[in-house]
Symmetry: C4
Subunit: 297 residues, 4 copies
């Protein structure tokens, strides 16, 4: 009987150790202090998936396509306004197809000082792709994002945080500075291949710090936005408060077609206002965070 046919409780120790060891959190990247002596770093990110959410599922629903358009038409302007008013810089992860559909948006995002990171070609799931296809899509995405925005991306957030067994290798081939798809810690760490340091910095994400988790809506999948917005704000604030207490990193993942609504954008606004009230936090783009922790840990 080969391993593929075995049940997990029949696996050899060698096998389960190999599964666990593929990609591991390595060296902790928790600097003694943040830029300009700040006590805490705040890294806000927005995944500008727009119509690719529906395209990658087949693209048949006109209703969901309109929902995607909401992201670019209503969500992005509200988010940019909130950031602009507070002088905050953030990172936007953009699938290549979304960038090609909305090139002006990307140029505005860059023009206002924000970062654009990679987010796949059409929001595909990497773990379903062979190495060659994943590599090709990611290299083409990097070129397209650069062509549209004028800036070469230095980080990748895998779509749906679906990190394949080949992703780390491709990130190295692309010469990226950081990844932002995994969640083995609250603070940054170096990604290891087995026990070998990869040189890639992980800026960890978490479902807890993702607006779509609480507000997702899929008529046919049974997802509903059940959590009250006030509760979502409180969760985010608690995550920040402890990060502040620990002199650590507070990272947040949002989506223009989720947080951008009239009844939710206040969460972002109030959070920024609350954090600014502390007086000693560094709002930074993901690339700035990755650079800082790599050089100062």
């Amino acid at each position: 009987m080969n391993t593929e046919q075995m049940q997990p409780w029949e696996w050899s120790e060698e096998h389960w150790r190999s599964l666990v060891g593929q990609v591991r959190a390595g060296r902790r990247l928790h600097p003694a202090t943040w830029k300009d002596g700040a006590r805490c770093a705040v890294a806000l990110s927005f995944d500008s998936d727009h119509e690719t959410s529906e395209l990658r599922d087949g693209g048949r629903s006109i209703g969901r396509m309109a929902w995607g358009q909401y992201g670019t038409r209503a969500g992005i302007p509200r988010i940019l306004e909130a950031l602009r008013q507070n002088g905050v810089k953030a990172t936007f992860f953009v699938p290549a197809v979304s960038a090609l559909l909305h090139p002006e948006e990307q140029r505005q995002v860059i023009g206002e000082g924000h970062e654009i990171g990679l987010h796949g070609w059409i929001h595909e799931l990497n773990s379903k792709l062979p190495y060659e296809v994943e590599r090709d899509l990611l290299f083409r995405s990097a070129d397209m994002i650069e062509k549209v925005s004028g800036v070469r991306a230095s980080g990748l957030r895998t779509p749906s945080w679906d990190f394949s067994p080949n992703t780390l290798k491709i990130e190295k081939e692309l010469g990226l500075l950081y990844d932002s798809s995994l969640m083995a810690d609250d603070d940054c760490y170096e990604l290891n291949e087995g026990s070998d340091p990869s040189g890639i910095t992980e800026i960890p994400v978490e479902w807890i710090r993702d607006d779509a988790v609480y507000f997702g809506m899929d008529r046919f999948a049974g997802l509903r936005p059940y959590t009250p917005p006030e509760a979502v704000y409180n969760i985010f604030q608690h995550e920040f408060d402890r990060a502040y207490e620990e002199h650590g990193l507070f990272q947040l993942t949002m989506h223009p077609f989720v947080i951008g609504y009239r009844s939710r954008i206040w969460i972002l606004e109030k959070l920024i206002s609350y954090i600014k009230g502390k007086g000693d936090c560094w709002f930074a783009r993901h690339d700035e965070v990755a650079k800082w922790v790599t050089e100062n840990s």
Copy 2:
């Protein structure tokens, strides 16, 4: 390999652009001011699906049929009373079969100054129908609603907001003024076919502003009314508050068999009372909103 067999990441740019471009939000219809100088427009709507919710799923459950009857027997009277007491006019979207089952209800709705809009034949999903069938059902629905209520409808809300690739064409053939099924913005816009203006005004809906999203119950599908009613009220109020701030439109979708219960009708009553307290909002039927934004944008 033809497109149908391709994975989304293999599609040509031409193909994904064609999928995105079918129906788009075009010209923004955000008037400088609302009727009589009002700062904000408030468009309340109720989908009187009643027994068609169960009929369109096969009609086998007597329990769910009783639930549908609740809508007409208990929900509608409470809603009409709340509207009457506050002098507010609203829009009721009614499947033809529901109107035929409850003709007196429709006449009362019209008699009290409300609007009746189209909502399909038996709450069928348009995207499952060929063009001829969708067209036939919609034309027959328009005739039946007119026959029952005495008024020709000027707007359509597709059942389950399921807008097919043929819906816009049929709406134009029917000579409708507006659609209320899509969600590419908070405020009204003109529907485009590709880049061509269609002349049809969209009064956008949103799952966020739909009572069934938070209160849905389906024993076998795992849906439960998990969100506390107080939280639902707060979400609706936040949506209104920002619409008011933006001098925009606040649109709401409710259902007699959802909002009409003793523990929920207060949400509607309190919301109307809160909005009236502002003193400068225009409660309008969907047809009035569509007419106003078309003529004043």
Copy 3:
């Protein structure tokens, strides 16, 4: 093409009218006043399913069987204590198999002045049974409940509120006074077969007024007790408040293995206390309510 093969939008009017007309809410049974001039009637019910919840699903899980045992071992004593301390009588709907497993419990329930109603044989779904089987199970259930408790039941709550096309006929054959499985109104009504009065009184239930809806837990079905207990209390109180305002009936469905826990039993206790504070409400068993509304409407 016969009707069975048709899609709902292809059905003849005759067909959908026949589906809707099977069992309908008929004459409203809303008395001008309640017993002893009370303003409002309060009918509390508990479905003592215990181990039958797991048995009817195949009976394979020892964990879920223990959960069922919790109902009889911990839930029922807490509930009886809460009712006893407040001098409140209620109705317990008990599957025959549950009564046979726990005969002493049934005798205690009757001994303390409560009512026992029918609730199927082993919590089976009626709509899956042919007429003969449903009839046989229900007649045997009535005999077993009488044999165990010493009292002949006068009402039925179908398991899972799954009312079959034959249920009403069997209820009449059994000579029942009332049913409590349907939900076409907030207040009592007479059940009609088509347009013919059946003589059976409906004491309507509602998912909104069912503890299991908010607190259900099924590891493999994705159900979770997501709603905070405070919110559940508030929903129940709102349902009561409006019933009180309308001089109507407030009916509630609970389960010993749901409401009987340390973190939830306070909902029942506080609700009774709140209602008693009003001073003019009649706590009544379901049979008393059915008798009163039949004789006084």
Copy 4:
């Protein structure tokens, strides 16, 4: 027709009685007083599943493996710190594979005075295993846990609380003192095989007192952490308050990769602080509770 082919409503009384009777709650183990005259016992437990959550499902997702690593890297240190600061001892249930992956963690847990209980080999579901396999995995788990931690375990929590028809027999063969997987009461009881006392003490668990129920997240299964953390705290506190009132046991199940986050660890901290404020509660490991109730009931 044999029983396997029958529907539950066709089963003989003998059959359903045999299904119910496999494992039952027997003698109640509710001591008149707790150690040192304490009014209430508090048994905190943590299931250190870490990477086995993903391994037992096939081990393919690198993202979920990182989530498991969070448990050992971030969750365990925060939990141990909270316990250390308050001088509280607790029980950690650890799958053998998890212990082998993280031996230092187990030694630290033991070194700080906590208990390690069995939790399966790789978090397998017992009810899917034949007797011989379940027995072999459990015996090997007991040996491995002893080898890693230096202490022989005296209790078992079956993974996913999935107690098979053979589990009780194997627990006796292993000479265990207690089980903590079933939920037929709030307070401890002796497990019976049919009506025969087994000598094994049950320390009952409950989904209500399990952090994963409210905070579970599975992108593909539709699970989301919908319940606000404040509500979870309130539920736990209510469970404690009534246990305190009843002079009983308050038992809690948590997970390092669930409760260990910045926005949730306060629930544990605040709960300990609240309970300590009472002044007369005994924080005890599960083995201490089992020993006490066995000797003092």
